[in-house]
Symmetry: C2
């Protein structure tokens, strides 16, 4: 997605060879119009998959996921990282290690929102080592739902996430793919869409 | 907002005299079209306030906030409940006690995203005791930004949040106002918009 690549070049900050900061338009301050176009693009790519639910994980996945769901005319579900007192029903749960935050967390979705009838599109802002997406796939599998694909805003193409997910037979579509963050500079691979 | 009141009547679940569960369309599974219309309505109410930023708190505030920001054509910022490794810059911070989760948490926004030039609309999904909104007001005040108002999706009108915020001289606009949850039933007050 050419607009996204240009925006990363303009407003992304390379903090180290592993860390790209996009907190001025995606992960903390959010540009709603960009999110809307990202959602529309992901919806277009997966238009023929008969998606019934878009699934993401709080918090920065919610922006791209809600617009993707709106374009596909289906509900969006965000997995929770901590159990709230009002989530007293049966839960699908999975454990996810975050290298950014250096903690393992249990993620969960209420079982009642996913079933064997569902065809799920997982959406997230970043794909790095793939742990979050893998956890979301596991939640869907527990419900017997079919994961039709994973739509990613920014893929760190120099990490192992894509391989992990493709080994699980889930197609990955990334709107921007980063080849490296060496020398304080973002180099891109060709994006999927 | 009549559509929202009807949806709460149809899909809301009263768990106790204090707890209304709307996890099938707002707080866990999200109806994007409803969120879009909620955002459009809040934007309309605050249209003359020359808002420059919409501020919310992760995670369930993000849906209504992003659509409000889109309608107002301004960025949305979501305060974080935990510090991430890539948020290494100067932070505005405030402490918020959640009665639902029974924990105090530090919320934060990067200082660079709010300034004395900003006119802020705070948006959140629920107003109960007002602690989250108060924390967000404090973050804005630390930056010297002006808080022009607070847009709420569902107000628990039998709790003290509105009084707390109005005592801080911030106008509150709630799209649905609950009078009571007694006898397993939702009774409404007249909404603000």
């Amino acid at each position: 997605m050419e607009e996204l690549v240009r925006r990363i070049q303009k407003d992304g900050n390379v903090l180290s060879e592993g860390v790209l900061k996009v907190d001025s338009f995606i992960t903390h301050q959010v540009d709603p119009d960009l999110m809307k176009r990202i959602g529309a693009r992901l919806a277009e790519v997966f238009a023929k998959k008969k998606i019934t639910k878009v699934v993401t994980i709080e918090a920065s996945g919610i922006g791209p996921a809600i617009y993707t769901a709106q374009s596909l005319e289906v509900p969006m579900i965000f997995a929770r990282k901590a159990k709230s007192l009002t989530m007293n029903e049966e839960l699908l749960t999975s454990s996810v290690y975050s290298f950014t935050k250096q903690v393992s967390s249990t993620i969960s979705i209420s079982r009642k929102f996913l079933s064997e009838q569902d065809r799920v599109l997982i959406v997230d802002d970043f794909l790095a080592n793939g742990q979050a997406a893998k956890g979301l796939i596991e939640l869907c599998q527990q419900a017997g739902a079919q994961v039709e694909g994973i739509g990613i805003v920014i893929e760190k193409g120099f990490q192992t996430g894509r391989q992990l997910l493709e080994d699980m037979d889930v197609p990955v579509v990334s709107l921007a793919r980063i080849a490296s963050l060496n020398d304080g500079k973002v180099s891109f691979k060709e994006a999927d869409a």
